[in-house]
Amino acid sequence: MKVYMDHAATTPVDSRVVEAMEPYFSDKYGNPSSLYTAGLEAREAVEDARGRVARLLNGAPEGIIFTSGGTESNNLALKGVAFANRKKGRHIITTKIEHHAVLEPCEWLAKQGFEITYLPVDEHGLVKPESLEEALRDDTILVSIMHANNEIGTIEPIEELAGIVKDHGAYFHTDAVQTYGKIPVDVQKMNVDLLSLSSHKIYGPKGVGALYVRRGVRMDPLLHGGGHEFRKRSGTENVPGIVGLGKAAEIAEKEMDRDAKKLTRLRDRLIKGALAIENSRLNGHPEKRLPNNANFVFLFVEGESLILELDFYGIAANTGSACSSKTLEPSHVLSAIGLKPEETHGSLRLTLGRQNTKEEVDYVLEVLPKVVGRLRQISPFKTDFVMEE
């Protein structure tokens, strides 16, 4: 059995999305900046997609800046606002559990003379509003807090957090890469000025995303050039990609509620079953979590081994283990919620998607104890991490 349960990493492109994109490769291939018919046709397709993407977050179409993905959207938001507003202030607030695509731009900005405050989170991964209140300063120009965490699935109280910043004069950005298209996202209600989203997390193609920018936000472009995307992001528009994202947004608008209900049921079944394995634990918030996210620790086994072993059974999953990362550092998110390094090694993330079934969940629940059991058999640790001398 082949079971893909890594939808937080990427998703298959929906066949309806592929179909929508297809004409724009070799048939309607015009450059949207061109004046002739083929160009106008491409322009229309781009603007149509812009409208759909905007509607799913209740924002103005002119606020949608198409980018190459979530990483670019985050970089544009952070660096764009930082460079354009540095005469006003050089202080930026974010959290310890952001995606690298927020943390790394922040670290780079720190080298350019900006000062970054990283807010802590509680054991479930929630940012405490008081900590934001305390961190805000006169020279704070930007607050960036993710809508939901990609590893542990915790959903942050953005409405409340953005409310605190609202009267302060700093811009509020949220990385909604893991929520847009999965749970309701409403820039008006959430009161955010900038919001990042990515296509390949919602059954759209890789290589395209968007940044929502509220009217009036002062920001520099990150990609300078021909002045595309309302002079905020240059480069010939990725027409098929944008059309694909538009279609993915359209489908999400219609099917999101139904999907979320189904996924929540599957997720809860998965969590209940997996926690029957001894020395296991759920990471993230018990309720305030993405409908499709389950994240566990299985003590005494190591995540990369777990992933490879599951792969032999046809199951695609993820881990926050250090051994599986390019930097050999354990997940900063699991560390931030208080896990010890030796615990983070045993983390397993299963993220469900539209195509997953109850049978697949049951198959995973049948395989998982075997796999964990076998690795524990190989492991010198059975009840504790102490190394006997």
Partner: protein, 131 residues
């Protein structure tokens, strides 16, 4: 990423498990870093008669430890001590660069076990002599 040989040793580890009453035990790594190896030895006439291992860690850690147990079994202690990290890496058919340092510790652990054993033997025979 991993060679077929390594994956085979990961999936079907040789000489896996704890050993009752070993003559020597080597331990290496650190649970904080995510890789811990235990190597157990039965030694007879200066030769590794039996060898077992336990590993907490990634596929590279498990596979290389399994591999070294096969390489060392039956060898004299002197021969076994000459096995290097690089030998193990070659024997498993190479490792991703990032895995070469932290996960390929088994040669060190084996050497440590033998050294400890030899030191103990020396101490014992010293005691005997001293008596």
């Amino acid at each position: 990423m991993y060679s077929k040989t390594l994956i085979d040793h990961f999936r079907n580890p040789r000489n896996m498990g704890r050993m009752e009453n070993p003559d020597a035990v080597g331990k290496g790594g650190n649970p904080v870093c995510g890789d811990v190896m235990y190597i157990y030895l039965k030694i007879k006439d200066n030769r590794i008669e039996d060898i077992k291992f336990e590993t907490f860690g990634c596929a590279a850690a498990i596979g290389t430890t399994s591999m070294i147990t096969e390489m060392a079994k039956g060898k004299t202690l002197e021969e076994a001590m000459k096995i290097t990290k690089k030998d193990v890496e070659n024997a498993v058919g190479g490792l991703p660069p990032i895995k070469r340092h932290c996960s390929n510790l088994s040669a060190d652990v084996l050497r440590k076990a033998i050294e400890k054993y030899l030191a103990e033997q020396k101490a014992k025979s010293g005691k005997k002599k001293g008596k």
